[in-house]
């Protein structure tokens, strides 16, 4: 807040200085006009000064992302949240597009959960297992629960120890 007050006082002083300078040169300019001229000069100078830098920033942005594929761009959240790409591929293979799935995490996922939901679109996550035939286990699926699902006729696909998809009849 102090910086805002300081900067505002600074530009007001700049306008007063401009007014005084012009008066010395024989040009009577009121405070209003001096303020407008000072403001426009300042903004024009800052804008013109930023042109090269902003242009360069766009160049950097263009170069940085020039090799990003469509899939790489979409799945950026996997990198930032640390999701196993193979696990997502498994779930994507096992749960058909536009199907509903129930997601059971083995640990609190936070942002990972959001990312998984986004990446699995157009599959829809539902709130209870009763709403779907597909149960996705993420993070150490309980063995007893998987056995129980098998007894009910579920087909279970696993990826390592941590991930499983059960298709229940």
């Amino acid at each position: 807040m102090a910086s805002l007050i300081g900067q505002t006082v600074g530009v007001v002083l700049a306008a007063l200085l401009l007014m005084a300078l012009l008066r010395r040169l024989g040009l009577a300019l009121g405070f209003g006009r001096a303020a407008a001229v000072a403001g426009l000069v300042l903004l024009g100078a800052l804008g013109a000064g930023a042109f090269r830098e902003s242009w360069h920033a766009l160049d950097v942005q263009r170069r940085t992302f020039s090799h990003v594929s469509s899939e790489g761009g979409r799945s950026r959240c996997m990198v930032t949240t640390g999701i196993d790409v193979h696990a997502i591929e498994l779930v994507g293979r096992e749960v058909p597009s536009r199907e509903r799935y129930y997601f059971q995490p083995g640990y609190p996922l936070g942002h990972q959960g959001l990312c998984i939901r986004f990446l699995l679109l157009p599959r829809l996550q539902v709130a209870t297992p009763e709403q779907t035939h597909y149960l996705v286990f993420w993070g150490a699926p309980p063995r007893a629960q998987l056995d129980q699902l098998r007894r009910r006729g579920a087909v279970i696909s696993r990826f390592g120890f941590d991930y499983a998809v059960a298709r229940v009849p």
């Binding site: 807040m1 102090a2 910086s3 805002l4 007050i5 300081g6 900067q7 505002t8 530009v11 007001v12 009121g30 405070f31 209003g32 006009r33 303020a35 407008a36 001229v37 000072a38 403001g39 426009l40 000069v41 300042l42 903004l43 024009g44 800052l46 804008g47 013109a48 930023a50 042109f51 830098e53 902003s54 242009w55 920033a57 766009l58 160049d59 942005q61 263009r62 992302f65 020039s66 990003v68 469509s70 790489g72 761009g73 979409r74 950026r76 959240c77 536009r98 509903r100 997601f103 942002h111 959001l114 990312c115 939901r117 986004f118 679109l121 157009p122 829809l124 996550q125 539902v126 709130a127």
Partner: protein
């Protein structure tokens, strides 16, 4: 090829509807005026069409390309019919024919316009291959994809179901719906190229501010200097990069506030109506847009009340248009019990003990928002310059009402933000962290855009540039349609 063609086509549709809207408002009257009005046409077209589509969406109509086409055609026909009817009644165009000044001024202006135009045109290529970041994958593009994947409907599993939903279900859906329609036009999910649309919205904002001020006779050098600062502000281009809706909402709020400000400055009713359409777009873009639109209209009411102007009918008309545009989403959200999980109940938030117990949050929020607005590296000094110009207007009694309007509007916007930060549930650090795309850094965008547009208006008044209607004529309420440099259909030379 299909994707590129579809991308161009959907933008052309919005520009065409917006052009019809400008035609209805008497802001374009000759074919050769069309190229100079493409930016404002696109921005107002998006606001008008998307507000109607949000209404259809919440009543259960699936929003796909046929619905977009039909709505656009009906709106365009309606706007043209309104203009023809008004013309028969002898109402002159709201905007005078603009003619360029001669000599050095024109040369400098053309070079500056070309430089800004080149910046936006070449800059667009930097937005074609971006990744999907943070809140974009968490809910903006998430909702956009869901609308695309599931027939253009508000699928309950995404938009209503708990806990399996993206965060911020209460946020309005203009941007996700626009994204889904862009995907449909392009024939597939193009999350990377979608960012170019946000860049085009930003460019349209700059163009619209320039157009509105030029339409009131403000000379190009006065318009260009602050406009360059707005266009080249580094942080705006970064927010476009991450794909959030802060620049989108700021584009509508900034231009809406300027249009209302020009109406208050003796402008024709058409300016208020254009402002209302743009504010409806703001309200449909983000929650902050709803309160900002209300702030603009309340700010206008304050000025009308203080100045004892008899233009309440026009104010009510504009407010009704903005409210009608904003209402469908607000009603749908209320009907389904969707509310901002970050905020406590009204009873708690008004509890004196609750408020006094967290006064430190208010202090931090004031400090943080002030610091953000003063960040020259991000916003190129736009806000301090605006404050200085507003102070100059008040001290010198020049355009006091206009300065009061912008100060009141921005003050109200800030007050709402401070209130949210004061009463909000999350730790205040989550919202105020300075070095990322956290809340306080981004929400000031709409304030900076409003201040930037207002700064040009106030500077023009201080320098006596533009064909401003004498206050007495505006106060009498007869300003609308009265011949004046700004209001007549004659060419005005700058």
């Amino acid at each position: 090829m299909r994707a590129a063609g579809g991308f161009v086509a959907i933008h052309a549709v919005f520009a065409a509807v917006g052009m019809a809207l400008l035609f209805a408002l008497g802001m374009v009257s000759r074919v050769r005026d069309i190229p100079a009005r493409l930016g404002p046409a696109y921005l107002s077209g998006v606001a008008a069409v998307m507000s109607c589509l949000v209404l259809l969406l919440v009543v259960g109509v699936p929003i796909r390309l046929p619905e977009l086409a039909l709505t656009s055609v009906l709106l365009a026909i309606g706007f043209v019919a309104i203009r023809l009817w008004l013309r028969r009644r002898g109402r002159p165009p709201a905007v005078a024919v603009l003619e360029a000044a001669g000599g050095m001024e024109t040369l400098i202006s053309r070079v500056a316009v070309a430089a800004i135009g080149l910046y936006f045109a070449v800059g667009a290529t930097a937005y074609a291959k971006l990744a999907t970041f943070g809140d974009d994958w968490a809910f903006w593009s998430f909702k956009g994809r869901a609308l695309y994947d599931f027939g253009g409907r508000l699928k309950p599993e995404v938009f209503l179901a708990r806990p399996a939903h993206p965060p911020h279900l209460d946020y309005p859906v203009l941007q996700p719906l626009l994204e889904s329609l862009t995907f449909r036009a392009m024939g597939g999910v193009h999350l990377q190229e979608w960012h170019i649309s946000l860049w085009i919205l930003f460019a349209s904002f700059v163009w619209t501010v320039g157009f509105l001020l030029r339409s009131r006779g403000v000379s190009m050098p006065i318009v260009l200097a602050p406009l360059a600062a707005l266009a080249l502000s580094p942080y705006a281009s970064q927010i476009v990069m991450v794909g959030y809706a802060d620049v989108t909402v700021a584009c509508f709020v900034g231009t809406g506030a300027l249009a209302i400000g020009l109406w208050l400055d003796g402008g024709r009713y058409e300016y208020a109506l254009l402002g209302a359409v743009l504010l409806a777009g703001a309200a449909n873009a983000k929650n902050e847009g709803e309160t900002a639109a209300a702030a603009v209209l309340v700010g206008a009411a304050v000025v009308l009340g203080v100045a004892r102007e008899r233009r309440w009918g026009q104010w009510l008309g504009a407010s009704a248009v903005a409210a009608a545009g904003a209402a469908p989403w607000i009603l749908w959200r209320s009907a389904h019990g969707l509310k901002n999980d970050d905020l406590p109940s009204l009873g708690t938030s008004l509890d004196v003990g609750y408020l006094t117990g967290r006064l430190d949050r208010l202090g931090s929020a004031i400090d943080s928002l002030g610091s953000q607005l003063a960040m020259t590296g991000r916003w190129l000094g736009v806000f301090p310059c605006f404050l200085m110009l507003a102070i100059a207007c008040i001290v010198t009694s020049t355009a006091r009402r206009q300065a009061t309007f912008y100060l009141a509007t921005i003050g109200l916007m800030l007050a709402v933000l401070l209130w949210i930060y004061w009463i909000g549930r999350p730790p205040i650090e989550v919202w105020l962290a300075p070095n990322s795309f956290h809340s306080a850094n981004r929400v000031v965008t709409m304030i900076v855009f409003t201040a930037g547009a207002g700064a040009i208006h106030l500077a023009a008044r201080l320098l006596g540039s533009g064909g401003w209607l004498p206050q007495a004529a505006a106060r009498s309420g007869s300003g609308a349609g009265r011949p004046s440099p700004a209001n007549s259909g004659d060419a005005i030379r700058r």
